[in-house]
């Protein structure tokens, strides 16, 4: 190679890049920093939102029904607050006075739409032939007789009682509905701050989808922030032990940090420009920094380790740098291109945030490439390096390990291949066991505050999951009301469903009250005029919103609500299927029935996640294979480039099955990490093989010596994110564990299976 000032490579593009770093390092650094700052300034527009409904496509049937329900009946996501003392009767003057105060406080909150509790409930009574519609608790300070009256009214109306009082009557329940215009975390914060100081002397439990969804983002972010920092510390330690150069580690970290802020900035800019929900930083986006970190780390590690190795042999900064970059520019570019292509396949995802996820991550990967090919070598160029330092003059632990591996695999390629294939078989036997669980309740470990609250509400109250059935028909028609009752009877047979209510229940209660409180009349009157009369009587002295939770304004749409204990996604699947069959078979009346609710939305999300993951995997494999084929001008290399990816994916999903790690919208992202890192390893391996195959000697051994070290170092340092295993959230724990497996499987997929295959077919490949 000619060592003139402006000629560093036989390839003109490589030459231009190397020239920018070696001859104009300060200009390149300033340009890179300014560009990074401009892009990252978009972080101010980054908007955090964890509304699960925003994840779903607009044309999704359950989402359309869900939205029409929200429109007709208000928000169906509520917060439950229960307070009391275990095994102590809660219905007394003091607790009701506190409940009154709590309702008053809630009334003043801007985020609160409606409140359902004893203090806010209405009773319909027949007193001496007098239909009396009055407050269930009509003042703050009630006496013993008032308490007795409340107790007796609730005993007479068990369905109402179940909504207001725990099963053992030791906790008072308040159900709070949010206003549509406020975020759930804001709503949750306001309710918590109203409840906590007031109920200091009680045991308090909070739950409901609005509470969990409102709490989750902050909890996960706090938890993940600490764990990512721990992961970073481990990563830095591993890099430091192997690179043995603070400056070297700092350079890798600089590259990672700049790429990260550029990615987040681009997300902010895109949100600002498009105002699209795709660019909201959702809970699923929490994994984006980890993925980019692994990819940027890989780019940085390849450059720094290669530079150190070249310095060891060349003893000349410029020459070592130019040789390193000449060898790495093409593979880094190719890995960037293939990884971006793989992540852009997410644009085909039906889940909205995954589209933004793929685009923004691609921008981050592109920026990591830009910085690793221009800014990083420029920074290296400006440093004064001590050629006698251990970092440069001596091989590190991972480098020695790579050398040993190279001997092992080159000497017995068939055994190595069989060893690798054995892992694949293990993986294949576990794939069919992979279960899906996207139920947010199962994200929490038993013993955590939220899980305890949910368990309490499942055991002592009516559960915290809800199923909503929208019934279109004449809600004053007794036949329609009978069908509604039939569906409710069917629902309540499911042991997890604890309570159902609808307009039928209200009519039955009114009928009984009207007929002198005779229990015999707790039925739906069979003449339409009677139903009409009862509704009119009720409306004569009640607000137009009293029935708004069970029937719409013009009595054309009714709502059946079923509250249940926590169900797994699989249980939800089977239950909804059974319900659909029942409705088709037994509901004869001409009514239109749609089943929705948080449960159904979760089910649809699960289907989408599976589709999205499979689509992303197959498209990525196809694109990576095609791009590699085009670049290496050989289909065999194209196929080989996807071998480590394929094996890693099989192994990881197989291990998920064996270890019962559930597939959900967070763990599904794991395939992206595998693709991002796996592509990188394979392309570097193939590039170096093709480059070194022109030289004499055992090529495969040289290649493993050359790329094995950065691959092991990259994989080893990324394993720091195994710290996520200590998360309080189960899916994040899975990510931590699977991250370790992903790093092992991708690096060994390259160093064992790919290298063995290359060794076996090397003659055909080199020809």
């Amino acid at each position: 190679m000619t060592k003139s000032k402006s000629y560093y490579s036989s390839n003109s593009i490589n030459n231009w890049f190397i020239n920018q770093s070696i001859d104009h390092p300060i200009r390149t650094i300033i340009f890179s920093v300014i560009c990074t700052l401009i892009i990252s300034s978009g972080m101010q527009f980054l908007s955090i939102d964890d509304d699960m409904m925003k994840m779903l496509p607009k044309n999704l049937n359950s989402k359309i029904i869900w939205e029409s329900l929200q429109d007709e009946f208000g928000s169906t996501e509520v917060i439950f607050v229960a307070y009391g003392r275990e095994n102590h009767k809660i219905l007394n003057s003091k607790s009701l006075s506190d409940l009154w105060l709590f309702s008053e406080r809630l009334d003043k909150l801007e985020t609160v739409e409606s409140i359902n509790c004893i203090s806010k409930s209405t009773k319909v009574n027949n007193v001496d032939g007098f239909i009396e519609i009055n407050d269930l608790q009509n003042k703050q300070n009630v006496n013993k007789n008032d308490v007795k009256e409340i107790q007796s009214y609730l005993n007479k109306n068990p369905k109402i009682k179940k909504q207001l009082l725990s099963l053992k009557e030791d906790y008072l329940i308040t159900v709070i509905q949010p206003r549509d215009s406020f975020s759930l975390d804001n709503f949750r914060d306001q309710v918590v701050s109203a409840a906590k100081p007031l109920f200091k002397n009680y045991e308090v439990y909070l739950g409901g989808t609005a509470y969990v969804t409102g709490s989750l983002p902050q909890l996960i972010r706090e938890d993940v922030r600490i764990l990512i920092l721990s992961g970073l510390c481990i990563m830095i330690s591993i890099l430091l032990i192997n690179l043995r150069s603070l400056r070297g580690v700092f350079m890798v970290l600089m590259l990672i940090t700049f790429s990260l802020i550029a990615m987040l900035g681009s997300m902010g800019w895109l949100y600002k420009i498009t105002n699209s929900d795709r660019y909201l930083f959702a809970m699923i986006s929490t994994s984006m920094p980890i993925i980019l970190l692994t990819i940027a780390n890989s780019d940085g590690v390849h450059v720094v380790t290669k530079f150190f190795r070249e310095m060891r042999s060349e003893n000349n900064l410029k020459l070592a740098l130019s040789k390193s970059m000449d060898a790495l520019l093409m593979p880094i570019f190719l890995t960037t291109l293939t990884t971006i292509a793989a992540f852009l396949t997410m644009s085909a995802s039906p889940l909205e945030p995954l589209i933004g996820y793929g685009i923004c991550l691609s921008i981050g990967i592109f920026w990591a490439w830009f910085l690793s090919t221009l800014m990083l070598p420029s920074v290296i160029r400006l440093q004064k390096w001590n050629f006698k330092s251990h970092a440069i003059s001596k091989a590190s632990y991972f480098e020695k390990l790579a050398n040993q591996i190279s001997h092992l695999f080159v000497n017995s390629p068939i055994k190595s291949l069989l060893f690798g294939l054995a892992f694949i078989v293990i993986g294949l036997t576990g794939i069919h066991k992979v279960g899906i669980d996207v139920n947010v309740a199962n994200f929490f470990k038993k013993g955590s505050d939220i899980r305890d609250s949910m368990d309490f509400m499942d055991d002592q109250m009516t559960g915290t999951m809800d199923l909503r059935i929208r019934v279109e028909g004449d809600m004053k028609d007794p036949k329609v009301l009978d069908e509604i009752e039939k569906i409710q009877d069917y629902l309540i047979q499911e042991k997890r469903i604890l309570l159902t209510y609808s307009i039928s229940d209200v009519i039955k209660q009114l009928h009984r009250t009207f007929m002198d409180d005779n229990l015999k009349y707790e039925t739906i009157p069979q003449e339409k005029d009677k139903v009409n009369n009862l509704i009119m009587m009720h409306s004569m002295s009640s607000d137009h919103e009293t029935l708004s939770s069970v029937v719409n304004y013009d009595y054309k749409v009714g709502l059946i609500t079923a509250l249940s204990r926590v169900m797994t996604t699989e249980e939800i699947f089977s239950f909804v299927e059974k319900l659909n069959i029942y409705v088709k078979k037994f509901i004869k009346e001409k009514i239109k029935i749609d089943i929705t609710g948080f449960i159904i939305v979760i089910r649809d999300m699960a289907i989408m996640i599976i589709k999205s993951s499979l689509l992303s995997i197959f498209l990525s494999l196809f694109l990576v294979g095609t791009i590699s084929t085009l670049f290496f001008k050989n289909i065999a290399w194209g196929i080989l480039s996807i071998v480590p990816l394929g094996t890693a994916i099989i192994l990881n999903f197989g291990l998920m099955g064996h270890f019962d790690a559930k597939l959900n919208h967070i763990t599904a992202i794991l395939s992206s990490i595998i693709i991002g890192v796996g592509v990188d390893f394979a392309i570097h391996y193939i590039s170096q093989f093709r480059r070194l195959s022109k030289k004499k000697g055992n090529v495969n051994q040289k290649v493993i010596n050359e790329v094995g070290y950065p691959i092991l170092l990259d994989a080893g340092s990324n394993m720091g994110f195994g710290a996520l295993i200590f998360s309080a959230f189960i899916p994040v724990q899975y990510i931590g564990g699977l991250m370790i497996f992903a790093m092992i499987s991708t690096s060994l997929g390259t160093l064992i299976i790919l290298s063995s295959l290359v060794e076996v077919f090397k003659n055909k490949l080199t020809n």
């Binding site: 239909i131 009119m536 009587m537 409306s539 607000d543 013009d554």
Partner: protein, 249 residues
Amino acid sequence: MRLSFRIVLMVSLLFPQNGLEISEMIQNRKAPKDISNTISMTLINSKGKKRTNKMISKSKDRNKKQIMWFLEPKGDKGIAFLKIEIQDKDDQMKMWLPAFKKVRRISSKKKGDSFMGSDLSYEDLSNRDVKNNNFKKLFDEIIDDKGYYVLETKPKKELNSFYSKHISWVDKENMTILKEESYDKKGELKKKKFFKYDYINSYFIATSITVEDIQKGHITKVVMSDVSVDNDLPESLFHERSLRRFPAY
């Protein structure tokens, strides 16, 4: 009209009245002994969905006694309602439900309860007596060349009202209320009411009332037609027996 308006304006400037006097003048406004009419009440929710009821109404003693028979919707035809206000006691309300062939007394002890699901509460429909309210004239205002007193009414604590205050625009010429704003306990605007009157047999009779619940985005429009006054309605009409006798219309 302009001249008379100027005269009224001058008189009001020369003899400024206080809130209490204005209130008394409203109470003492000339009113018929009884009114018969057909009421059409349309409820419109925040999404624009409507519900309409049509009733025949007969009332006496400044609405203290009122009987109504439902004409529409079809399913409610025949339902009848009787209300009798008794000083310092809960209103007496009875309903005839023809499908059950039964009369039932109903009660709503909550003043803030809605009347027939409308935006008018029982408190809105009752007279604001001098004993339970404080009145204050805020200022005078001219709207469309007509002079109005702007009157503030604050319910006394013992009334246990759902409102903190009402602001009413009172026509200086005939002491009718053009519009009114009602504020909730938090002091936030809750309802806006607009009134229209017809001059019938030397009385100003409200023939259109629109009430808007600002916080809920709900609207109630009440239109009175076929109005006749001073028909000497017998006292016996305001009795449970009359509920079952659907009048000719």
